[in-house]
Subunit: 402 residues, 2 copies
């Protein structure tokens, strides 16, 4: 039995004594509502725009923590619920277009900056109001989550709508992100959905992720495939996003556990380990952000950078894989990724984590939050790792599979 | 008098014996027409998509070289005209939408991939067919250049049209790229335009670039300003693109020379030198790609990378500034930027230049061409530098201004 206690304590402390207090203290806009997410190294606000991804994700994080850790009675952490409510008030006032779809960004005051072209705003809004409905028992939030989810399903085949610049007939491609997020979303708001819809959505998502986007010849998950699941020899078709693929594997592991599907668990572990082998930077450590499946130069100039979310999501996946299959490679990789992550991302002087490192592991942008990094991946990851580590301590791991 | 002969020879040789032969040999698609631009380090085609920016720019480059260096009689380089004609045939067949606007990208066969959302496709098409009309004397090309130019002017206030995701009333901003390119474009196709329109366009462009986008408090050119030319404290408003600003300064210098406007020349030199002071990486050398005018983290993850076009454009500007004002700082900076550029970008083994280096100056993407790098900045820059150096040798530089 591997000793996990030091890890457990580390993840718990970072969540409760560093990351959550950081956002609780520095991100609330007391004048205009909502959250500032553009915080520099020393917690100062350097931009006041409000990005719906990050507004909704912070509502989700504080609601989820309240629901899961609020104590008994949960009112002990009423301050967390206040933070979630603070964000929800701003979002319900300014976040949606007339048709109910969620904008991409707003000014500090809540005026629309960018149209609802991005379906992931809607995904994160669904998660946020799903958790908040549990925390508050407020049916209005439940209905908002449910109606947004239904809109996502209706839009899923043409998510960018009229803002799509691609001529879709010429080289039709489907993207991995939506089925991947639906895996997670369907469990997030299971309590609000018809049981049959949940099971059907899960079936479809597992199939899409594990059969369609997973390329069994390549042994990796592709970011874009043709409508019938084939490889497209184009920049989009060759694109690999290892962090995305590995993050999806813990969503799949959660679905596999729910269904008691050992073969699915094992397959998710296999894909995780193969992706790590492929995407680990053997020279400088850390996981690459983007790669090309044929080894050609990718279009993304940031391809070799080391990103916060890639690393924390990988830690979750490895711990779940270890807990649920006992595969010792998961633990070995966990320790390796943990060592890289904790020696590079946390800012020991001013708290919270850097988001963007260059290939060498130096800080590329000294921010704690921006347009894409907010109060989400780090606290969710710390929470997930802490919980899995606690479970490993209390009930052990699955029997070794080999 | 500074000895320039070694430089002159170097730029000439690189153009005529390395870069032009590289594209002439490796980029023509003999089966389907047009050019391959995605060429890896060893000249192999790794993607076959055809990007209108790069198709039109290569037509421009070969037409321009034919017009300027074709010899007397120019038919001596009929092979260059053939290359231009090869690209033009593909473009006239597949490049335009029904309304005459130019698409952004096509498949190898010429099917539309991405809609005409990008007005710079039209700008480079205007340049291409303007030069080709001179090379061939074909009125159809002249008319195509002219009608495209008129469409650009008509679209200039809403260049993205229906693909614009920003709600334009909330934070209206105008972008530097279009007035900057119009400076150059109006001279490129001067022979096709009404004299009065040329002068009016030049007046407007000089005013926009030197009074509106140039922020006299900051001492630098901004990439985006409010419609009345003010600073917007937002990611877009704070954005600096030093290479863009410096490239624009040689367009301005050419206009200033044409008008014999010494004050304008001096101002362009001042802005160039101030931008270099601001954007030069004192730690690793080279010019940063993007910066934030308030020193905040920029949104662009590639901000610290060193790009081919930034450096070759800077060399042109510095040589023109030196030639036309005699400012010794221009020459000192030229030697510094030259040394960095020539020791980092050219690939001495397989020819042509790398496009993308990381901050440290190592190759980030080992490509010679891609979605954005083609046969344009390097040959244009080598040609411009060579010509200016020759002129300096034959007629000397302007009297020292101080």
């Amino acid at each position: 039995m591997i000793a996990t206690q030091t890890y457990t304590q580390l993840y718990q402390d970072a969540l409760l004594n560093d990351v959550i207090p950081f956002w609780q203290k520095h991100s609330l806009d007391r004048q205009q509502g909502g959250f500032f997410t553009c915080l520099d190294r020393k917690e100062k606000v350097y931009d006041t725009d409000k990005f719906i991804w990050l507004q909704t994700r912070q509502v989700w994080t504080f609601s989820m923590l309240y629901n899961r850790l609020g104590g008994s009675p949960p009112e002990q952490r009423a301050d967390w619920l206040d933070v979630a409510q603070h964000g929800a008030d701003f979002l319900t006032k300014y976040g949606r277009a007339e048709d109910g779809s969620w904008y991409f960004s707003l000014t500090r005051e809540g005026r629309t900056l960018v149209q609802p072209y991005n379906i992931f705003s809607d995904c994160f809004a669904t998660m946020a109001f799903g958790q908040l409905s549990v925390a508050t028992g407020n049916d209005a939030y439940a209905n908002l989550a449910k109606s947004t989810f239904e809109q996502i399903l209706a839009r899923r085949n043409n998510p960018k709508g009229r803002w799509n610049k691609a001529v879709s007939d010429t080289r039709p491609l489907k993207n991995f992100a939506l089925p991947m997020i639906l895996c997670n979303l369907s469990l997030e708001i299971e309590h609000l959905l018809d049981k049959e819809l949940v099971e059907r959505t899960i079936d479809e998502c597992i199939h899409e992720v594990m059969d369609v986007f997973y390329d069994s010849n390549l042994g990796l998950i592709r970011e874009n495939v043709t409508p019938d699941g084939q490889f497209s020899d184009s920049f989009e078709g060759r694109l690999l996003n290892p962090g995305h693929a590995i993050e999806a594997m813990w969503f799949i592991m959660d679905l596999a556990t729910r269904r008691n599907d050992v073969a699915l668990l094992e397959k998710a572990v296999r894909i995780t380990l193969d992706t790590l082998d492929y995407a680990w930077d053997t020279e400088h450590g850390g996981l690459f952000y983007f790669m090309d499946s044929q080894g050609h130069p990718p279009q993304q100039l940031e391809w070799d950078q080391k990103l916060w979310w890639v690393h924390i999501e990988t830690l979750i996946t490895l711990l779940k894989g270890y807990q649920r299959t006992g595969n010792p490679d998961c633990w070995a990789w966990f320790e390796r990724v943990h060592a890289y992550t904790w020696s590079h991302f946390p800012d020991s002087e001013f708290g919270e984590w850097y988001g963007y490192l260059n290939r060498q592991g130096d800080v590329l942008l000294p921010l704690k939050g921006g347009k894409w990094k907010g109060c989400f991946h780090i606290p969710r990851g710390l929470f997930q790792c802490w919980q899995v580590l606690k479970e490993i301590e209390s009930v052990g791991i699955a029997a070794k599979h080999r």
